[in-house]
């Protein structure tokens, strides 16, 4: 009897204590993430008179529709290219030994620590018509400096995103590759697999979870980046949704349309976010990889 009471008491305490312990973290999440998130969606449906309306979305449709698709396209393209670069880099670091591989392994992370605004300034001077890249190419005779490569557009923007995101993705992908036991690679090689086959048929399938996480995190932050597109193609047509959001707030104080644009960018990342949550929360990355 006494045992049962003690158990019940412990049970009661156990029922209450976890909530108490979770309260600060969950409270902070609710106040700083959930509330602004829900409120921005709600406000995107408020018209100028404060009544519910879709006027903000109508304005987005009229003025910024092309920019919405441009943002999506540029994010998909940049993430896909960064994924290819990062997988190649991670595979090299996983499979190679020697001083050069160690050297690359040490320096490839640098772009991760460089803020987007600094990347943007670097790209502006590097990619400009008379910038470092064009002058270099002109010096070795590949480009006529009077008709230089025009890179301060979607091409340069994609280049900037790949430069910044690929090392970050490589970091995550490499951690997945490191978890693939050497025996699998050795077994594949002993039956005649060449390097591309080792990468495509062993490393990538066994690290799908890490690669997915890298893709999702890179895509999400690309969709939300303001400084790089603003500083490279801010005034151009089309431009990204983030530039439009800043434009609505800065010049018009118009949070309604800005929120509507924001909501559309949530939608862009929502599908991937759900997928990510299912992966990490329900299945668990490690469980999946072992299974």
């Amino acid at each position: 009897m006494a045992e049962v009471t003690a158990k019940a008491r412990r049970g009661r305490g156990g029922g209450f204590l976890p909530f108490l312990l979770l309260l600060p973290a969950v409270g902070l999440m609710l106040a700083l993430y959930a509330y602004p998130f829900v409120s921005s969606i709600y406000r995107s449906f408020l018209g100028s008179k404060g009544a519910l309306s879709v006027a903000n979305y109508a304005k987005v449709r009229e003025l910024y529709w092309r920019d919405v698709f441009f943002s999506l396209e540029i994010s998909v393209l940049s993430t896909a290219l960064a994924a290819l670069v990062s997988i190649a880099l991670a595979a090299y670091l996983r499979l190679s030994t020697g001083w050069f591989a160690r050297f690359i392994g040490a320096i490839y992370r640098f772009p991760i620590f460089i803020p987007f605004v600094v990347v943007a300034q670097m790209m502006r001077t590097f990619l400009a018509p008379h910038g470092l890249l064009n002058i270099f190419l002109a010096q070795i005779g590949l480009v006529n400096i009077d008709a230089p490569l025009e890179l301060l557009n979607w091409k340069g923007l994609t280049f900037g995103f790949v430069w910044k995101q690929a090392p970050f993705m490589a970091l995550i992908v490499l951690s997945g590759f490191e978890m693939v036991d050497d025996t699998f690679i050795e077994a594949a090689r002993s039956v005649g697999a060449r390097l591309p086959q080792v990468i495509v048929r062993i490393l990538i399938p066994m690290s799908r979870a890490s690669i997915s996480v890298a893709l999702i995190l890179a895509f999400t932050s690309t969709v939300g980046t303001f400084t790089l597109p603003y500083m490279l193609i801010g005034g151009q047509v089309p431009t990204t949704v983030t530039v439009d959001i800043a434009h609505r707030v800065t010049y018009f104080g118009d949070y309604g349309v800005a929120n509507a644009l924001g909501t559309l960018s949530y939608l862009m990342v929502l599908a991937l976010a759900i997928y990510y949550l299912r992966y990490t929360v329900r299945k668990g990355i490690y469980e999946y990889q072992e299974g």
Binding site: P129, Y230, G234, G235, Y251
Partner: protein, 415 residues
């Protein structure tokens, strides 16, 4: 535990050291230094005040604008003010360029007001014209300017009216800045002098004129608004007399569609600085720039010294930046002294014109004798005071301004 103890002890000692530092002696030493300055009279009078009221004053000056505004406050004005009034220290806060920077200041002041914070955190602010309509509508500002000694030098119309809002007494311009067209005489020996000539020029030289659209900074916004003034010929109505009439908007369609056509022959640059950089590198031969940024780039060696300026007929917009004092300022009297100091002919001539290449906030004739002749000459070399008064226009009143930007998006970008 031990680490925590030693950290705590360190903090206690550090705090004691810091609080023990301000001894009364430096005031005497400073007095000797200051007496050698040319402004002996003022300083000596204020020194007596210091003796009566030694309580230290901490003032917060918040500024919008490019990073040069922060440098001006932090490295030049605040130390000089502290030297005049040793009991006053000024902290400078910077919110960022363009209307976005002013927007942040507005939101800060509004939040203070809504939270009932009195006194508030901000003593004096430096803002763009658009801020005035927002802040006046919310009744955030103190009426102070007509009490100042330097109000008598304030003759410009925009000291009384900002984009259609009556601001008389609520704001003092620190400087005026102007948008003009920079051109490289190596490639453009005889630059276009009107919008009409420019249209012909870009067709003959595609890609060599560049501006930053309307989402990348105010020099592009100003160029586009000048375009609408040119196409409609209604500058007076849009910028000075008003009133706002929705029906006007539809009349811009054709002009803006022509701007869309014009845009096919030009390069869209990456911001105000993007245009300047491209001119300097020789990628562009012409482009609209802020005059002050242009000369500052030149002084810093970041601009090809051959490049010159020209104003387009029928005119291009410029704007002042204003000092305002919030109603709930903690130190309104010191804030007034601060504004008075910066709008004095000495500071206007030696700092605003000579160091920063702005047109003065106060009437130029009170400044001319104080400014070094070469600085005065540099500022007015390409754009004479006559040209400036003829072609230097205001931005439109707020409703027209917003409508023009959106019309640009509708017809010069989309459509």
């Amino acid at each position: 535990m031990k680490r925590w103890m030693s950290l705590f002890a360190f903090l206690v000692v550090a705090t004691l050291l810091l609080t023990a530092c301000p001894a009364p002696t430096p005031q005497i030493v400073e007095k000797e230094v200051v007496v050698e300055k040319p402004v002996v009279q003022t300083v000596v009078v204020e020194k007596q005040v210091v003796v009566e009221k030694p309580a230290p004053v901490h003032m917060v000056y918040i500024t919008a604008g490019d990073v040069n505004m922060l440098a001006l406050g932090q490295n030049v004005l605040a130390p000089a003010f502290h030297e005049m009034y040793p009991e006053v220290t000024v902290s400078v806060v910077h919110t960022g360029p363009g209307d976005a920077g002013s927007r942040l200041i507005f939101e800060k002041l509004l939040a203070d007001k809504q939270a009932g914070k009195d006194p508030g955190d901000v003593d004096v602010a430096m803002v763009h014209q658009k801020f005035m309509a927002w802040a006046m509508a919310e009744d955030l500002l103190l009426k102070y300017a007509d009490e100042l000694e330097t109000w008598q030098y304030m003759t410009a119309a925009d000291a009384r009216n900002a984009l259609g809002t009556n601001i008389e007494g609520y704001a003092m311009p620190m400087f005026h800045s102007q948008i003009a067209i920079a051109y490289n005489p190596d490639f453009v020996p005889d630059p276009p002098r009107s919008y009409a000539e420019l249209v012909e020029w870009v067709k003959a030289n595609p890609g060599k004129f560049g501006y930053n659209g309307i989402k990348g900074g105010m020099s592009g916004v100003g160029f586009s608004i000048g375009w609408i003034y040119w196409k409609t010929g209604k500058y007076e109505k849009y910028a000075i007399t008003g009133p706002f009439e929705e029906a006007e908007v539809a009349t811009w369609e054709e002009g803006l569609k022509e701007l869309k056509d014009f845009n096919q022959y030009v390069t869209i640059t990456a911001g105000n600085v993007g245009t300047l950089d491209a001119l300097n590198r020789g990628e562009l031969w012409m482009g609209p720039v802020w005059v002050d940024m242009f000369y500052t780039f030149m002084l810093e060696g970041k601009m090809d010294p051959k490049i010159r300026l020209v104003m387009l007929e029928p005119g291009m917009p410029g704007q002042p930046m204003y000092f305002v004092i919030p109603k709930n300022a903690r130190n309104p009297e010191w804030a007034k002294k601060w504004v008075e100091y910066v709008t004095s002919p000495e500071v206007q001539g030696k700092i605003i014109i000579e160091r920063y290449n702005w047109y003065p906030g106060i009437d130029g004739k009170f400044v001319q004798d104080i400014t070094p002749p070469e600085a005065f000459e540099r500022l007015y070399k390409d754009i004479s005071p006559e040209i400036l008064s003829k072609y230097g226009l205001s931005f439109p009143i707020v409703q027209y301004n917003d409508a023009m930007l959106e019309a640009y998006e509708r017809w010069a970008i989309g459509g």
